[in-house]
Amino acid sequence: MTHSLTDILWILLCAGLVFMMQAGFLSLETGLTRNKNNINVAVKNIADFSVSTLLFWAVGFALMFGATRGGWLGSTHFLLNFSIDTWTTVFFLFQVMFCGTAVTIISGGVAERLTFASYLFIAILISAIVYPIYGHWAWNGLNLGETTGFLARLGFVDFAGSTVVHSLGGWATLAILLIIGPRAGRFPQDEPPRSISGANMPLAALGILLLWFGWIGFNGGSTLELSEQVPLIISNTLIAGSAGTVIGLLLGYRVYGRVQVELIFNGSLAGLVAITAASNSVSSGTAVIIGAVGALIMFILDKLLIKYQIDDAIGAIPVHLGSGIWGTLAVGLFGNPVILDTGLTRSQQIGIQFAGIFICGLWAFGITFIASYVLNKFYPLRVTPEDEHMGLNVSEHNASTELLDLLVGMETQSQNNDLSLRVSVEPFTEVGQIAQKYNEVMASLEQAVKRTDAIVNTAQDGIVTFSRDGYTILTANPAAETIFDYPKATAVGQPFSILIEPQADRPRQQLITEIIESDTYYELKGLSANGRTFPMELAIAEAKIGDILFYAGIVRDISTRIQIEKERDKALEANELKTRFLAIVSHELKTPLNAIMGLAEMVDLGVYGDVVPQQKAILQEIIGSAEGMEQMVSELLTQAQLDSNTFVLRPRNFETAKLIERANIMLTPLAQEKGLILNLFLDDQCPPEMFGDFNRINQVITNLIGNAIKYTDKGSINLSIHFSSKEGWEIIVADTGKGIPQAEQAAIFQPFHQVESPYSREAGGVGLGLSIVQQIVILMEGDISLSSTVGQGTTVRVTLPSDKGD
């Protein structure tokens, strides 16, 4: 059989086109997988081509296309010598590309989990044994225009390799996937499957177009000559691929309501795979149907794989196996018998197509499964979970990219919780910008955490965190370690209950639960490492970091506070006792003192007959002493009440005029007795009612007028009461007495003070010193001021707020 140079040119050109499919697969597979594995996927594509090329040259070509032994096995052309025969070399070039394609299909399906070595093993197995032997059965003699393989002799037709190349690759992929299992995280337990998105869809799309382009040679060259059939074959190929694409598009709209990228990709490839076997033997209309059905089958098979949790990374099985089987069957269903030229009826043809498909499955799946299974026993095909997590770029090739560096840096940080670490920044790239921002975020975070740490570490209160389960101590700040006498970090890991005194009525765990639920401070006994118990205050709050719940206990040693409280209570009690004692004493003293004063006065006034001057002097001494004693008792009592806060005001509404009336009754006689005039004046502006403690206000007025009478020898004493809504009440007591020296005015409000002056018995003892008056006025939220000129008189001004009663 001779071949024109045109044919040779065409086949060489097609070999080049099919080679381009390697680039297509590389782009598609790296695009549909994750960045952490992309180098690995790409390198596998290059390595498998080289390995399979060498092996196909050394062994595969001989087994496939060497002189047949009974239609089963080739036996010549090992280590093919390219100088013997040009056509054989051209044919080898074209076929070696097909072999490479069959192998590379597998790499996509099993991507992201196989070790490189095991993938090479599979590439060797397929290219040296599985592919060439099955190829022999279908295609032996092709280069010589003969059909000598046993399947071909039975009438099996696979024009460009729907089964020989695509299904076979698909079967092998399935076998390996069953052994190695799905990628981590693809089928989480009790959750719907999680799709693993490809990292670079535009690259994958470019891969699809490169495959289309390559397919022109894949099918177009399979005539092995530049015949008039070629345009039809290429056209059928393109319209079948397009039909598959459109079906993918429609399925996306129908099922997901949108254009589903993967369905477009795989729909187009399924159409191309399906038409491969029949591209020379069907009409253009049929080609459209074959392509469309191929895409449908791809879709169904994809769903089945997910159902059975078979994780095909890029859809190699649905596309190449599913659609490949369909395409091979389509030859029987639709193939033009004249072109097929097998002499079989259509049903016979369909039967033999089935047989070919079945034998391919048995062979390719069987051998691959057994070989992989055995190898997996001794040498695991799959990478370790850690490597898979890290990505094969790093684990298999020690490759490093900026993104990867960033991820590794972040991973390290998340592992050791060291916030001070910073990732390396590659300037002028997007990842570099992310890295820089990440570092900035970390810096802020570190600062925030340091600030919190500083607060926790310097807090006076103990802060102890403990777990939800078992209440195990997680952390304790320095204050907590001091409170409970635990040396640094020795409390960590122990149960929180060891910090609490054992309870008589219930386990400490139960008490802790109660405190947690109460949401308030508890006062209880703490237990230190050396067995000392002490009163403490404990509040427990629930805290959360991410998903982790824990408790934070805030502890305060309240020994000192309790001690102070006890002492304060004691002091208060003592003070109250003193006040009560004084009240009783003053009450009991006042009546006999009153009797002493009265009796002495009676004698003094001559009730019992005339008194000689010496006797009068003694009587005045008695009266004066009694008065002094009485005043002291009153001042002591009032002062004690003020000191112990038992001085109580009883405010109520009363008639303002009553103050004047009372002063008139009580004090006018005293003034008149001394020859003084007491002027009482109530301003018209004053409201008829006043709100306040009548007795206390009256006491103040009585004291002030009493003092005035005491220290005034002639003239008058004026009491006037005023009111203004702005200033409130104003009570003024003015006298024309001897006045108080400037030097003594400041001291006049001191307790137990009396102006140095000769005793005036006529005035009588009326009430308390000015210091008490001042304190009473202040308690009524008022004010008192004094102005005095020696020789002219004294004016005391008291203001009181204008409170309204209810």
């Binding site: 009546t591 009153n594 009797a595 006065e601 009754i665 006689p669």
Partner: protein, 122 residues
């Protein structure tokens, strides 16, 4: 015209002498009792014009005596001086309203005499 009657109710016998003498000097005819029961017995039969009542009595409290008089219509024109030794000035409103005046001990002889003379019927 006969002198107006006065009653002094004061358990301290010395002080009762002072009070009664002061009232007598002011122009009253004075009776003296030393406890609450005696006061009530006296008031059953008499209607004094002025009553000087110590609040702190050994048997019945002065306040009860005060209340008793308020219930009797015949005391409507009587003046009641209350004498209190309570240093805390905790005189409640009820006493304030029932009494004509409240005197804080010590009640001075001359002072009492002056005040009482002002209340003499004209």
């Amino acid at each position: 015209m006969s002198q107006p009657q006065a009653l002094v109710v004061e358990d301290n016998i010395n002080l009762s002498k002072v009070f009664s003498e002061a009232l007598r000097q002011a122009g009253y005819e004075v009776a003296v009792v030393l406890d609450g029961q005696a006061a009530l017995d006296h008031l059953e039969k008499n209607t004094p014009y002025l009553i000087l009542l110590d609040l702190h009595l050994p048997d019945i409290s002065g306040v009860d005596v005060l209340r008793w008089t308020q219930a009797e219509a015949r005391f409507a024109d009587s003046h009641i001086f209350v004498a209190s030794a309570d240093g805390t000035l905790a005189i409640d409103t009820e006493i304030e309203q029932m009494a004509t005046i409240v005197l804080q001990k010590p009640v001075r002889f001359a002072h009492l005499q002056l005040i009482a003379s002002r209340f003499l019927p004209s």
